[in-house]
């Protein structure tokens, strides 16, 4: 009657040991990972090979939208100053070109030529497009579309290239326009309860917000051939509450600040700083 007792206690010991080994094994395998934050710098290669150019001409932009700022002048000035400090290319100092007037003039010439047959139309421009009128006031995106053919006029850009000793030419379109949007906006509201405890509660309210939208298209032209080698478009917007009165120029710089690194990355390699988590 006394025999089973030691056997039972032995079995229990075996089971306890097995559980202990399994626990240690599991703990080794499932040991919680640690995390280490580390700063990194991601090198981004330039999108364009500009090694064959020594100089860059920020020619000018077909610009429109808000009347509060001269978008063409401001864009030329900003991009030149950025390239001076962040690119190896020599920036050509010249007056910003009034490309809207240039395009209007080219359009008149093309239409006059087709009517009187005095001048041979530009073979690079589509015949049907030559007849399209160019809007004098640029208010929205579709007003900029007819101006696109200016950038395809290789003979014109080759002539500009010759004038400035074959640089890389940067031009394009910029729309900087007022923007209004209504909708529900979520914001954190600070409240204190009966015991004086602070609480932050998210609150949704319907608001009318106004701001600006910036829609630039940068066109890079080889000054030796007049041909477009690359182009890129961006869209950025900023909205403020109706009570806020932010000057147009401030909003313009706020939006351009977001785009400038992207513009620069087309011409020179950049390093984007950030933080990542390493795990073990």
């Amino acid at each position: 009657m006394t025999a089973p007792a030691p056997m039972k206690s032995g079995r229990n010991r075996v089971l306890a040991f097995a559980v202990a080994v399994a626990t240690v094994g599991a703990a080794t395998l499932a040991c919680g990972p640690s995390m280490f934050e580390i700063p990194i710098e991601t090198p981004i290669k330039a999108k364009l090979d500009v090694s064959s150019f020594q100089r860059v001409l920020i020619a000018g932009f077909v610009a429109g939208g808000s009347d509060d700022i001269d978008t063409n002048q401001e864009t030329v000035r900003l991009l030149r100053s950025q390239l001076r400090s962040k690119s190896s290319l020599r920036v050509i100092d010249a007056d910003a070109m009034a490309l809207q007037d240039v395009a209007q003039e080219q359009n008149r010439t093309a239409n006059g030529a087709s009517a009187t047959n005095e001048v041979t139309p530009d073979p690079t421009a589509p015949a049907a497009a030559q007849a399209l009128p160019l809007p004098l006031r640029i208010r929205e995106e579709k007003d900029l579309e007819p101006y696109e053919r200016l950038f395809a006029n290789t003979s014109y850009w080759r002539r500009i290239g010759e004038e400035y000793q074959n640089p890389l030419i940067v031009t394009g379109t910029v729309l900087f326009a007022p923007n209004t949007r209504s909708g529900y906006v979520s914001r954190d509201v600070e409240r204190y309860d009966g015991f004086g405890r602070r609480q932050v509660i998210p609150e949704r309210s319907f608001q009318e917000r106004k701001g600006f939208v910036l829609r630039p298209k940068f066109v890079f032209i080889d000054g030796r051939t007049g041909a477009t080698i690359y182009s890129e478009s961006y869209r950025e917007e900023v909205l403020y509450t109706a009570q806020q009165n932010t000057p147009a120029l401030s909003s313009y710089f706020e939006l351009m600040d977001r785009l400038v690194p992207n513009f620069l990355s087309a011409l020179s390699s950049q390093k984007v700083k950030g933080t990542r988590s390493l795990l073990n």
Binding site: G25, T42, S231
Partner: protein, 119 residues
């Protein structure tokens, strides 16, 4: 008696297999830890070598793929970084740190990508 035999079998299996699995992960983890230490000192190429060794030893080690992706990203090898992040997330789909790293990586790529056109 049968229970005692079963317990012994369980003990043998646990003691034989668990350490084997743990050894593989431990060896890979040692490589990962070393990689982290050298990365902290700015020796990223050595770190990448260690993390590549780690995923060879244990191809199911999600954290090692994550670290390797960070290393590739730092060295500008963006295609390799994307592949490593995707593999890390495949192994650990619910890991918030890996997900966040990948989101930040994609943000840079999207930002520099824009809407570009070449003739």
């Amino acid at each position: 008696m049968k229970r005692a035999i079963a317990a012994c079998v369980l003990l043998l299996v646990t003691t034989a297999i668990a350490p084997l699995l743990a050894d593989q992960r431990n060896e890979a983890k040692a490589q990962v830890d070393f990689g982290i230490e050298v990365a902290k000192r700015g020796l990223w190429r050595e770190a990448i070598y260690r993390w590549e060794r780690a995923i060879q030893i244990d191809p199911t080690y999600g954290a090692a793929f994550n670290d390797l992706a960070v290393g590739y990203e730092h060295e500008g090898q963006l295609d390799k970084a994307r592949q490593a992040y995707e593999k890390a997330l495949q192994l650990e789909p619910d890991n918030p740190q890996i997900r966040q790293n990948f989101e930040l990586f994609k943000e840079i790529n999207d930002r520099t990508g824009a809407n570009e056109k070449r003739p």
